[in-house]
């Protein structure tokens, strides 16, 4: 049976690279915005998904829509993490309490978002999205949620190519077990989207 499945894995390492926790499970997590974007690409029309501030914002046709390939230090896009453990709801539009980019208290450094190309291995076809996020804050940080933010384009004014770029949350998961990331350590979050017979 071929149905899209989203899986995530979490690996926590200490400052020496030793794995101190690993979890892999089927994600719980497609949100309303995910289906709104699929609808927009699939059929088109007027729709205003919420951006990560919670504001409904018109989605306009642009090649950047659904982009997740965040660069280093960019916590506005791609895989993100947070400290909140409120159960996932279909109307969620952001992390409950996102961990900001940086090196201060409660902050972590987001490395570049990486992708594994689609692999067709009958009966499955899947691709992966991964990110390493490093804790150089000076203290322990407990991570309880992860998700994916993707680009959301809004055209303003009468000029055809004037766009504001926002971000929407398509995926959110709350970990089974809160993950303590020690100072100097890291957390690696990997999402795999696959269809399987």
């Amino acid at each position: 049976m071929k149905i899209p499945e989203l899986w995530y894995s979490v690996v926590v390492k200490d400052r020496h690279g030793k794995v101190i926790f690993r979890e892999r499970r089927r994600a719980h997590s497609f949100l309303k915005q995910w289906n709104q974007f699929i609808w927009f690409f699939h059929f088109g029309g007027t729709i205003s998904p919420k951006i990560t501030t919670g504001a409904p914002t018109r989605l306009d046709s642009h090649d950047n829509n659904f982009r997740m390939n965040a660069g280093e230090g960019d916590a506005s896009l791609g895989i993100v993490i947070g400290t909140d453990n409120t159960p996932v709801a279909i109307d969620d539009y952001a992390m409950g309490a996102q961990i900001a980019e940086g090196f201060g208290t409660g902050q972590m450094h987001h490395l570049v978002n990486t992708f594994g190309a689609p692999v067709i291995s009958p009966p499955s076809c899947g691709y992966s999205i991964s990110r390493i996020i490093v804790n150089n804050s000076g203290g322990l940080i407990t991570v309880r949620e992860s998700g994916i933010y993707h680009q959301h384009s809004y055209r303003y004014g009468p000029v055809a190519y004037n766009f504001y770029f926002y971000f929407s949350c398509g995926v959110r998961d709350v970990f089974t077990t809160p993950q303590d990331v020690p100072d100097g350590g890291s957390i690696t979050v990997n999402y795999t989207l696959q269809v399987t017979e």
Partner: protein, 195 residues
């Protein structure tokens, strides 16, 4: 640690056959088993903002670059390179399927349908679900019954110009469906995510 949970993104289809007076002759509703590799490859292209070789509906591998045309299925009247299609193929689905096995063409000749414009609902939330449907009516004005309809699916655009399209999903029906002359077949797919 591994914990399995119920699936969270699902695709359903409904097939309704009507006679020339609009009377429903047959209705099939079930969970689809049908996403194929090109669907995931299109998402990859959009998510990574990159290009990827994707086999088109002619069986030719095309380099597909991210664009606002990827995954488009809103075909107009008579357009059959994208949008919902029906056919007579019976071969079970595989992950590498790139087209319907024996799609019915556009027109009023033997085994041809008049493909109406695609229609869709807006995404609606009924917690914990968010879903929308896409639909197409295909009218049989061929002059005779078209029998042996066994497969349905949806072609999606991968490039606007030159036009390339790929198979997004395909299903084999549990039994043959016959559409009388003057009648129609309506195929509805519902795409749903559940929190």
């Amino acid at each position: 640690m591994t914990e399995k949970m119920k699936l969270k993104e699902r695709l359903f289809y409904e097939v309704v056959v009507r006679d020339r007076h609009g009377k429903i002759l047959e209705r099939i509703t079930t969970l689809s088993r049908s996403y194929v590799s090109a669907w995931n490859q299109c998402l990859y292209v959009l998510n990574r903002h990159t290009s990827c070789p994707i086999v088109d509906t002619g069986g030719v591998s095309r380099s597909v670059l991210y664009s606002s045309s990827v995954l488009r299925a809103n075909a107009g009247v008579g357009e059959i390179d994208h949008g919902i299609r029906v056919g007579k193929g019976t071969t079970p689905i595989t992950i590498n399927d790139y087209a319907l096995e024996a799609p019915c063409g556009e027109g009023m000749g033997i085994d041809q349908f008049l493909h109406q414009a695609m229609a869709a609902s807006s995404p609606a939330v009924v917690a914990p679900d968010c879903s929308f449907w896409i639909r197409r009516v295909l009218v049989n004005n061929s002059g005779s019954t078209i029998s042996g309809i066994r497969e349905i699916g949806c072609y999606v655009m991968t490039k606007y110009s030159p036009r390339y399209c790929a198979l997004g999903y395909r299903d084999v029906l549990p039994g043959s469906v016959s559409v009388p002359d003057g009648g129609s077949i309506t195929v509805t797919y519902t795409l749903k995510v559940t929190a």
